[in-house]
Symmetry: C2
């Protein structure tokens, strides 16, 4: 369903940028979010998940739908403006390849705890930088990462391999092997 929608409404720019603003991360289709959430629930049904973690802003819509399926709270890490972060937060750093800088992300300590089994949700997996930051926040809290649920993985980039090599289960609903331009997207 997601793959069909990418083929129908996705726009490829400059050969490697996929724009999905019309249904996934600017104008959001709630039915698609719900179907994606049901699929993650199926894929991680036996993982004992009690918390969903994502990062603002475009992961929130799919994460709250996942939280609804798992009947557990949804937590979102915030991008922090200054390097001066409050003591009551866990902090990690995400490198942005798009903007060429490092950005701190934070989550309040009180909401992420030892014993939590966390499903990390995000819209894209490419270099893996955001996921690595979210996994690091869980480690700091002593929480267990039960897996990662991704909407779109660009499997021609190295992020998916890096996370799977860490022994973490990654389930991407659409895996793009190659994008050769508009109307020429190959899935795995």
């Amino acid at each position: 369903m997601l793959e069909e929608r990418i083929l129908k409404d996705g726009i490829v720019k400059d050969g490697h940028i996929l724009k999905v603003g019309s249904f996934l991360n600017q104008q959001i289709d709630p039915c698609l979010m719900e179907e994606m959430a049901k699929e993650w629930k199926r894929l991680f049904a036996d993982a004992g998940i009690n918390k969903i973690l994502t990062i603002e802003a475009s992961g929130i819509a799919m994460a709250i739908m996942a939280a609804r399926e798992f009947n557990c709270p949804c937590l979102f890490a915030k991008k922090h403006k200054s390097t001066n972060t409050p003591d009551d937060c866990y902090v990690s750093v995400v490198h942005s390849y798009t903007h060429g800088n490092d950005n701190p992300i934070v989550v309040a300590r009180e909401f992420l705890n030892p014993g939590d089994k966390v499903l990390i949700i995000d819209d894209f997996l490419a270099t893996g930088a955001a996921l690595i930051g979210l996994i690091d926040l869980c480690k700091q809290a002593g929480a267990e990462v039960a897996g990662c649920g991704i909407a779109i993985e660009k499997s021609f980039q190295e992020g998916g391999r890096i996370i799977r090599d860490m022994g973490i289960k990654v389930e991407s609903l659409a895996r793009i092997k190659a994008m050769n331009g508009q109307n020429d997207i190959e899935f795995e």
Copy 2:
């Protein structure tokens, strides 16, 4: 339900700041979001709404649940970093009383159109600055604002009166008349 939750888990700081991070805008309770969305659906059932508009990041979770109830897309305005905004966006400016600065917000022109009947959703209504910016984006697009669905209105501040004086229907699920400190919150 929301009022009970505010009394149970809300934290009042410095007499006028209400922290609801544990259920509304950092760690989010999906059941509460769904109940809120159902109530907005009831309140705006006959308004012909075909689009939900909110602003990143903390409005997104409740807005996507509302979009699910209304069976329509959810659109979110982005906070823009620079004053140099792209031509394909509508731009408005939101004054932040907390940080004492003006912040541009943008939405892509292609997603907001004449004939749209928009329900604006947000977590808080206090000064009304964010809502006024979102209403301005709709006006620029020639879209009609069918109403505003708010989680928590601080009715001791002027925002609610300003928006209602514009002839716009505002439905706030919890209206706080006064906050005199922890465990002393008065609802209307």
